[in-house]
Amino acid sequence: MNYTQPPMGLIAELTHRCPLQCAYCSNPIALDPPLGELTTADWMRVLDQAAALGILQVHFSGGEPMARADLVQLVAHASSAGLYTNIITSGVLLSDAAMSDLLHARIDHIQLSFQDALLAEGDRFGGYRGGHARKLEAARRIREAGLPLTANFVVHRQNVGRVEAMIALGEALQAERIEIAHVQYYGWALLNRSALLPSREQLEATNKVVTTARTRLAGRIAIDYVVPDYYAARPKACMGGWGKRFINISPSGKALPCHAAETLTDLAFPSVRDMSLKDIWTDSEAFRRFRGTEWMPAPCRSCDRREIDWGGCRCQALALAGDATATDPACAQSPDHALMAEAVAAAVDAPLDLVPRRMRRVADA
């Protein structure tokens, strides 16, 4: 099947380096080493190809994208190519000078992550002393620069009781958007799942808090809310469908349909060092493998939601059911759906210890 529909977004994972060590990071356990990262010239070529292919927005991500010395240069290059530029950052490196340089490079938007509403807890989950205070400074700089701000809060069993305070913090920081995102269980987060999965009661309480806040803030602050798959009856449309909207480029240049796709070791992912984005998008086996509906097993193939959720998440099917071509276990129609309830049950009395995300893998936990 050959898609002529161009992709919408490019996720540029500039580096896996990050000063923070969040145990719920969805980066792969095997992080790309700094020496293998794409060069500035490589990224500029990719950005030009992205604009030519019809990509509209570029999301500079990581790791911590501000750990790359050439971030400002890349933002300027993307802006000149007509791309809408977004940075997804922890904010701890966003100094006055960096803010000013990014403004000159015509950055469109910054998403700033928080680990908690409370300073001590935020620093603990981020594994970075002084990090929360720096984030508050970063938020102030973003607002003073006149840029829109998204405050992102990742929530899990150990901080989910403070969602109301997180929303209040987002309001106080004058965010345009607030994201309350339950942890998605890939990479490091999957490794730490038992210490992070909320209970059903916690999830339902959070749903209520978010619904109330949405009504109160309607028209002023938009709240995006992402729930965990583990209590769902239907899977999420992962990345809006495989090879349908996004191209994710890893720090070393692998082109991936989603940022966790390298766990699908049966697929050979093309590198932007060897292939153009256009050829990757239209011709590569990796992007065609789960595109559309033809690859689907029963019961997805005949499901009336097949073009709504696009079969859910392939990485989750592999990680939980052991088969990337299986129905996403998040779906109640999946023969493996009981795995979700088992994971929830296993988390109930599990210890809260977390394995921090680090570049050199610690001994298997």
């Binding site: 919408m8 509209l56 927005q57 958007r177 028209g219």
Partner: protein, 90 residues
């Protein structure tokens, strides 16, 4: 329905532009992207932070064959929807 004296404006970080590759207007917002339909495109082209909903509807009524009352209602509804999504201020 919101009043027709309201003045819509794009929020910070929102760009409404023509995409040569898709040959379509696109609305780019923080981590959101909308492909407005033909009616919404005509409305959004008139959003400049100065014109009220009433003035936008007047302009549309002079060019399209529909009762002004209906145009006001459709315009207000489309703009309110985008305001709730965070793309516009009203």
């Amino acid at each position: 329905m919101i009043g027709e004296s309201r003045v819509p404006r794009f929020r910070r970080g929102v760009r409404f532009r023509y995409d040569q590759i898709r040959r379509a207007w696109v609305l780019l917002a923080p981590e959101k992207l909308y492909m407005p339909d033909e009616v919404a495109v005509e409305i959004l082209k008139l959003v400049d932070g100065e014109r009220s909903i009433a003035l936008i509807a007047d302009d549309l009524a002079s060019r399209f064959d529909a009762p002004r009352e209906l145009i006001v209602r459709d315009t207000a509804a489309a703009l309110e929807d985008l305001s709730l999504r965070g793309a516009l201020e009203l």
